[in-house]
Symmetry: C2
Subunit: 442 residues, 2 copies
């Protein structure tokens, strides 16, 4: 075939295994993925793609496993600065004596560097997209935009004055401004993120939902995280948190419930009927002793479920491969059923599931033509990933973030040979160490 | 001070943090550890040791955390070759259709290479000592002896013919021979390892206990791992597995109960009164949906508890740092108490606790003069370990095996700059890949 008929592409990735995470969970082994600009243009057997394409750059991983970039569907990235500041404490003591005092030091600068630190960790461990809820969300958005990662960000909104936007009503304006500022951005989306039913009045929840609808974005809330939250909601509103949202007309397809640990049968049915999504955060729920979310029941009812690490103060890392392992095992022991949440389904949560929950379906979470080029290569040439019978099994039960060797987001190579290319990680760590001295004083 | 008065040592390690894991959990920051021959000769502030010692070699980790080598107190190392062969299946299907058929291919060669593969993974992730129960234990011992790791090995014993030693009674002779062969070995100990109460008759359990007593070694058994085991033991012997051993006079200080998931109040009291040890294997118990061991109740009663990964077919890795994370979080969510099994206590299981359970108290598990020089350095200069407020927190909740940069066992450097020094890991992986093709056919 004469060379001039070959279609030019920017990158051709070749790997021992390509996990597409498409609807059929197709695996191509060995396989290849071609990228032009920010988009995947072809996925298939390596010889086929090589015969048809003229890549500017070929990246070859004969002992590599290529999969879609992982999606961390719920975190508070800048809390990376609080990792290990306080652990193993009763919830009230932890919050009131440690986390809240440290958070009094927050400003744009702290949140910006804390987010960059978290982005470094996420990229190096294979996360290409995260959904963030925190203060000074403009600083989160800026850090995400600069570092090359994909993000859904949102200012945390509640019924008391915020160190960022001031009085509660100004949170609406702040969020609306942020939505407008990032409209059309290739990687950053803004969502509306009221904190919880116990920190937001029904009136403000409704106003905030209107804002999400107006900007066609997600409305994301911590929901039914602890038995205490549910009991208090019952006492105050005569309904479970899920029931409370339903009555207010807030349980809709653009609603995302983070945690969703304490659910009864009616809650499960309401969630399923609504089209709302859920983000499962097993490690945080374990560490804070909140309980175990009924993830298999949610999935059985067709509820879209993503996977999140939550913030570093309650995890304490942002490693989604480890989180997958925990999620799959925790479901088994909760249900006393070794077939619960098998590896393939678990990996779906951190890819397709996250995309669906965050409104990024058809954009990321799969390797298929037309999807954005967000992808990750795992180095299989290591004792703990040898031999390989089933790539899903290794990803979920044996691999961890340190096994990631290459990461691309939106067609741009951000990690190669386990090194960050898009920003200076040493500077970020140095700033984090400086800031930690201030935060520790409380 | 004139140089001639300085005491010569082989190695001086300097690190930002030295976690001694001694009885007071002393942390020296920055600290140093001096090694002569196979033994730790000094631990303390770096300037003090430097003023008194003349080291042949100085290893400096200004952003490193030095701790005792981790102890994997229960595994089946050669099952590394079955990692990912079958997961997410009902227990009987998993065993009868996958694991047992694959195990029919076992011989000395397979077990030797499988163990070497596991040792590579263990050393690279900070484990310096493991306790193994498997077939062809002589091949396990040989692999451990050659690779430089420390091990307690034992042939799995049961009441049916073994592919290794043949008829049940010959298991006693095989184990006795192995005990004699390794008597006086600096790193390898042999223990007596009957499989379980459902695979060993009372008569043979007693004979095997006599053997352990004669050779002054541990008597190690899978015990109370699943509700089914307990129900069957009740039906057959009219006692729980713990009660059954107690009646037979087998619950003694040199007894080790692996798993100990399903325990009632009487079992807990019997274990505590006996001085027997327990090995907690949380990830395996989760993955096989066995249940959650009452580790906080055992610790509260003073039962010695070590931490184990179990084999790679039910985990699927040998990473003790990740296992620590799971252990600490699982205890919290089981008890619905965020203060359960705090980081410091959890790390104790994988060091001091393991040593106590395996009869290596005073030998390994702490950094103190007179202990064997088994130690590990963690590289803190990474985003997910920055900033650092509490080294225990980072080790348990944020680090994983990939963060290990240096490993010494018995005074010999086995890992440096994340590379294995003591044997050829590429050859081991190549052999494992070859063998896996045979094992897969079943």
């Amino acid at each position: 075939m004469p060379e001039m008929t070959l279609k030019p592409v920017d990158y051709l990735f070749r790997a021992a295994y390509v996990l597409t995470l498409d609807e059929e969970n197709r695996v191509v082994a060995p396989g290849a993925v071609a990228v032009r600009g920010d988009t995947i243009v072809a996925v298939g057997p390596a010889p086929e793609l090589e015969a048809a394409l003229a890549p500017a750059r070929v990246l070859d991983y004969p002992l590599g496993l290529l999969l879609p970039g992982l999606i961390n569907a719920h975190t508070h990235a800048a809390m990376s600065l609080f990792r290990g500041l306080a652990d193993d404490l009763p919830l009230e003591d932890w919050l009131n004596s440690h986390i809240f005092p440290a958070e009094r030091h927050l400003d744009r600068e702290v949140v910006y560097w804390g987010t960059k630190l978290a982005v470094a960790e996420m990229l190096l461990s294979g996360t290409t997209c995260f959904c963030d809820m925190y203060l000074f969300a403009d600083a989160v958005a800026r850090a995400a935009a600069e570092t090359g990662i994909r993000a859904v960000v949102g200012e945390v909104l509640y019924d008391f004055p915020s160190p960022n936007y001031g009085p509660p009503d100004d949170g609406l304006k702040f969020t609306a401004d942020l939505c407008r500022a990032y409209q059309g951005h290739p990687r950053i989306k803004v969502a509306v993120q009221p904190h919880a039913v116990y920190t937001c009045s029904p009136d403000l929840l409704i106003k905030r939902k209107e804002l999400a609808d107006r900007y066609d974005t997600r409305w994301i809330i911590h929901l039914a995280e602890t038995p205490r939250e549910v009991a208090e909601c019952q006492a105050r509103f005569g309904a479970t948190p899920v029931g409370h949202l339903e009555r207010l007309g807030l349980l809709q397809p653009n609603t995302v419930a983070d945690h969703a640990v304490v659910l009864n049968e009616v809650d499960l049915e309401l969630l399923a009927a609504s089209g709302a999504g859920v983000v499962h955060c097993p490690e945080s729920n374990m560490k804070l002793a909140s309980g175990i979310a009924p993830v298999t029941e949610l999935l059985a009812r067709g509820v879209p479920v993503g996977l999140g690490t939550d913030g570093c103060a309650s995890n304490n890392n942002l490693d989604l491969l480890s989180e997958l392992d925990t999620a799959a095992k925790l479901a088994k022991v909760r249900n006393l059923d070794p077939t619960a949440l098998p590896a393939r389904q678990a990996l779906g949560l951190a890819t397709r599931g996250g995309a669906q929950v965050l409104g990024l379906e058809g954009v990321v979470g799969q390797l298929a033509p037309g999807f954005k080029a967000d992808l990750v290569v795992i180095d299989l040439d290591q004792p703990h990933l040898t031999p390989l019978y089933d790539p899903y099994s290794h990803l979920v039960y044996a691999a961890s973030g340190g096994d990631v060797q290459t990461v691309m987001v939106d067609g741009r190579l951000l990690v190669a040979d386990r090194r960050l290319l898009s920003f200076e990680v040493a500077e970020t760590m140095a700033r984090a160490r400086e800031l930690s001295r201030k935060l520790k004083k409380g």
